[in-house]
């Protein structure tokens, strides 16, 4: 159809505008497909591993070997299987935890090489192999025995290979290895742990309670009991997945919807500016559906092309990201991904549907007018609005008056520019602020509060004296009475714990003989000094109540600090009880006593490592936002020039120089850019607060929103640079507008 030839000509005549739109759609589709694909596929990988390799639901240790295992399994409907482990320091190769294989729970997955075939064979984790340069066929000498490495493995209960259950990160040089049960006989210090997996997968909580009751009935004395839900070796990947899902998916979706809105507005303005042609074609007998089809072609073409390119480029990134995560942070057997047809379709269809609908609405709205109205174009509507009247522009010099009139004459265009600048600034500020907040949390959070070098936590509660230079603490995991997902630690600290510095918002030290709540938790629960908090212990469901005396200005997490003696009294523990100590020096505790050790001095860099994937994502988002911002401003400015062509042409006829025309047409919008940026700050704070609130609800991860003046200035500088660059580019368009256009006004 002849009319369709216009599509290609319109595209080539407005290359800049349509390339901009294409990139916007592409970026939205790309980030959506990549982020969602990663989160979904990574979850699938973790889930599949847990399911196929029969990941434990809990593990426990007992003081005496367990008798009558078969009867207990029968009674509780669970597979209960012991394994043994021993930690072996290697002369210069860190430390290796040797484990024995299981047959009914926690089945090992061999990720390279072969399985255990004969005594003396060992499978090691790939991190350990990489860290120490071990290859298949090498030998590991434990001092007691020499093992031949036959392959690498992944274990469902050691996805995150922590040494102690309360550790944040695996100690440097630490790894796991699987050896035959017969080989473990050479290590008499080996500890036995029972892994449990229930056959019925529903009501796991109830089944766990029944098992515990059955063990109690048998008089079994438990020395350790860890649910999979509290086992960081199992749960950590889920924190990553949930984090990715809650941050990586809403952000691109928001960006994507924003793209659609911006593109929808551009299409709307384009259709409006084409109203004379639409009216003419309509008058010549074109049907509404024919015109609708014609005007839908361009947005649909752009949407499909942008969406398809986004999908095609987004899909190949999923596999490397998942592979990287599977091989760099957690030990999960990597399997080739099965890409979801739904995701692929969504990547293409979402822009097509959104843009198609936006364009359809706009076109239908225009076609509701009569051909006569349409042929009048916008000329009929150029009237002085209330803003223009109220400002009494005649007081100003010509230049200012002209610039203001140009802006005020089309309020929708003014709003579009304001919206575009605000949206771009919000995204840019959001990326920077998220990055800055995380840096603050990781860099100053721990250091600001704990001036100790080490934190030791014990498997069992202790009483009595602590070593010299150490200060005891006791802690209980709790949640607010009606908000189970806002978990926090109630921590009892010694009043003379000089290394713990609790400061209020003014930087003054808070007394340690009172109840102090961290700012993040207080903010989340809307608590102020003097208010009461009711909470429940996660351990035994016991309810407690405290009055908040002080708020600690720290970003280190969600804690309530109280005097240790009051803590013990409140929780019904004997005086002098503690579950851990802080110390300025390394203490010679035996490994069997410990549930975790934290090197507080090195925690920051370790946390940086842990946050690296999130940081890269945030930086990527900020970059995408900067590109989008640039495109949005370019689109709006070029649209402004397009709509001002008659005025530009006329000014040239009057003898204005191109520079003067550019100043009159383009400089008028500088104040809109400034206003848009200023508006973006409260808007960003509100949207970040909403997103962080959501994050807190989803994964109990609370991040403060800390606006950095440096980043605000940087964002503003970027926006202004983009605006100036766009003006420069657009200025060239102004030069190209011929004077004949004014003379032939209305002729085309």
């Amino acid at each position: 159809m002849t009319l369709q030839k216009r599509i290609w000509r319109t595209l080539s005549e407005n290359k800049g505008r349509y390339i901009g739109i294409f990139i916007l759609i592409f970026l939205g589709s790309f980030t959506l497909v990549a982020a969602k694909g990663f989160a979904d596929n990574y979850a699938l990988l973790v889930n599949r591993f847990a399911l196929h390799n029969l990941q434990e639901d809990l593990s426990f240790s007992v003081d005496q070997p367990l008798d009558g295992l078969a009867a207990l399994e029968q009674e509780t409907g669970a597979a209960i299987e012991p394994y043994r482990y021993a930690d072996i320091p290697l002369s210069d190769k860190g430390e290796l935890r040797l484990l024995t294989p299981q047959q009914t729970v926690n089945l090992p997955a061999v990720t390279s090489g072969s399985g255990l075939q004969q005594p003396g064979d060992i499978l090691i984790d790939p991190f350990f192999a990489a860290t120490h340069g071990f290859k298949i066929g090498d030998r590991i000498d434990t001092g007691h025995q020499s093992f031949r490495i036959v392959g690498t493995l992944a274990l469902p209960h050691y996805i995150y290979p922590l040494k102690y259950i309360n550790d944040v990160l695996p100690p440097s040089g630490f790894g796991i290895g699987l050896i035959a049960a017969a080989d473990m006989e050479g290590y008499p210090e080996a500890v036995t742990v029972y892994s449990v997996r229930f056959a019925g997968r529903e009501n796991l909580g109830g089944q766990i309670i029944s098992l515990r009751e059955a063990l109690d009935k048998q008089g079994v004395k438990l020395s350790d009991w860890t649910d999979a839900g509290n086992n960081k070796r199992i749960r950590m990947p889920w924190a990553t997945i949930t984090g990715a899902k809650t941050i990586a998916v809403p952000l691109p979706v928001t960006m994507f919807l924003l793209c659609c809105l911006i593109v929808g507005i551009v299409i709307w303005r384009t259709v409006k500016s084409d109203s004379v042609i639409i009216g003419t074609l309509y008058a010549q007998g074109y049907r509404r559906r024919e015109l609708t089809r014609h005007y839908l072609t361009l947005p649909l073409l752009l949407a499909a092309a942008g969406g398809l390119t986004g999908v095609l480029m987004g899909l190949p990134t999923i596999d490397p990201i998942v592979k990287y995560m599977a091989n760099s942070y957690y030990i999960i057997p990597y399997e080739k991904l099965a890409l979801s047809a739904a995701d692929i379709l969504a990547g293409i269809l979402m822009p097509t549907i959104f843009l198609g609908l936006a364009a359809l609405l706009v076109i239908r709205r225009e076609l509701h007018k009569t051909a006569g109205e349409l042929m009048k174009g916008d000329k009929a509507k150029v009237k002085i609005n209330f803003l223009e009247r109220r400002l009494r522009l005649e007081r100003f010099p010509f230049g200012a008056k002209f610039r203001l009139r140009e802006q005020l004459r089309s309020i929708p265009r003014l709003l579009f520019l304001l919206f575009g600048v605000t949206a771009a600034s919000v995204m840019m500020l959001f990326g920077f602020t998220l990055n800055h907040s995380m840096n603050i949390v990781f860099q100053s959070g721990v250091n600001g509060t704990y001036n100790y070098a080490w934190e030791y936590s014990f498997k069992e509660t202790r009483q009595g004296e602590v070593p010299d230079g150490a200060t005891p603490f006791n802690a209980l995991r709790c949640y607010p009475d009606s908000k189970e997902n806002a978990e926090f630690y109630l921590t009892g600290i010694a009043s003379d714990a000089d290394g713990i510095l609790l400061r209020d918002a003014d930087g003054n030290l808070l007394p340690k003989n009172q109840v102090n709540i961290t700012y993040l938790l207080a903010d989340r629960l809307k608590l102020r000094e003097g208010q009461r908090i009711a909470f429940v212990s996660k351990l035994d469901g016991q309810s407690y109540e405290l009055v908040v005396d002080g708020i600690v200005q720290t970003y280190s997490g969600q804690f309530i600090y109280m005097p240790l003696e009051d803590f013990n009294k409140l929780t019904g523990q004997p005086a002098g009880s503690y579950t851990g100590v802080f110390s300025m020096r390394e203490l010679p505790y035996e490994e069997w006593e410990l549930a975790g050790v934290k090197d507080l001095q090195n925690l920051n860099s370790a946390m940086d490592d842990l946050a690296a994937p999130m940081t890269s994502m945030v930086i990527f988002m900020a970059l995408v936002a900067a590109v989008m911002g640039a495109i949005i401003i370019y689109l709006v400015t070029s649209l402004m020039i397009e709509e001002s062509r008659p005025a530009i042409s006329l000014l040239k006829v009057f003898g204005y120089r191109s520079k003067e025309v550019r100043a009159l047409i383009l400089n008028g919008s500088a104040w809109v850019v400034l206003l848009g940026f200023m508006l973006s700050i409260p808007l960003m704070l509100a949207s970040a607060s909403a997103l962080y609130g959501y994050l807190g609800e989803m994964i109990n991860m609370v991040l403060p929103i800390i606006l950095s003046p440096a980043y605000v200035i940087l964002s503003f500088a970027l926006i202004v640079t983009v605006y100036l660059a766009t003006k420069e580019l657009s200025g060239r368009k102004i030069i190209k507008i011929p004077m004949s256009e004014a003379l032939k006004a209305g002729s085309e």
């Binding site: 002849t2 009319l3 004379v276 010549q284 007998g285 074109y286 509404r288 006569g372 002729s747």
Partner: protein, 231 residues
Amino acid sequence: MFLTVSNLTKSYHSGITTPVLNGINMELEQGCIGVILGPSGSGKSTLMNIIGGVDRADGGEVLVDEIKVTALTDDQLTEYRRQRIGFIFQFYNLVPNLTVAENIEVVSNISKAPLPVDAVLSAVGLADKKRRFPRELSGGEQQRVSIARAIVKNPALLLCDEPTGALDYVTSRGVLALLQKVNAEYGTSILMITHNSAIAGMAQAVYKLRDGKVAEAYRNSQLVPAERIEW
């Protein structure tokens, strides 16, 4: 009678009601040229838009070739314009990014029995400029394209809204001559709006509008060829 307008009324409402047509009556025979004269605001364009089916009347009736235009639905009006009406506008309203030939094809594509595009281009004297874009043509040439676009569907009624309003004297006479030629060659009925009373000489029927009413109507027994019209 090919065109009959009876008691046509129309008002515009934008806060206040402004009557535009106050009971118009007029007639035009098949194959004739009619001219509507009148000052700005007299209702000429509104009248033509209602006859052409791009606007609706508040009251009265328009009959074109036995079709009761004022009773048609939106879809029927589209079909009516598509098959029977050709429009020529003062400012040509060409599609800027289509060539001369394509601007004509845009309409021939949707017509049931269009005239050959090349023949129409030859008729309007633009056969050698078919590949040019509108911006590469003079005003008179653009108006010729607009005429070619209107007649390519071989309409029963050609509605011309100030077709020479934006043109110089010589070019205007050329355009008027072309319209007369179309009328003679294709037997197309033409209704033309103009400010220029000199043009009335080339029309069989002349209606002068004032304040939304026909102030004067007369018929010319002797027609003046466009080339001889002077003003």
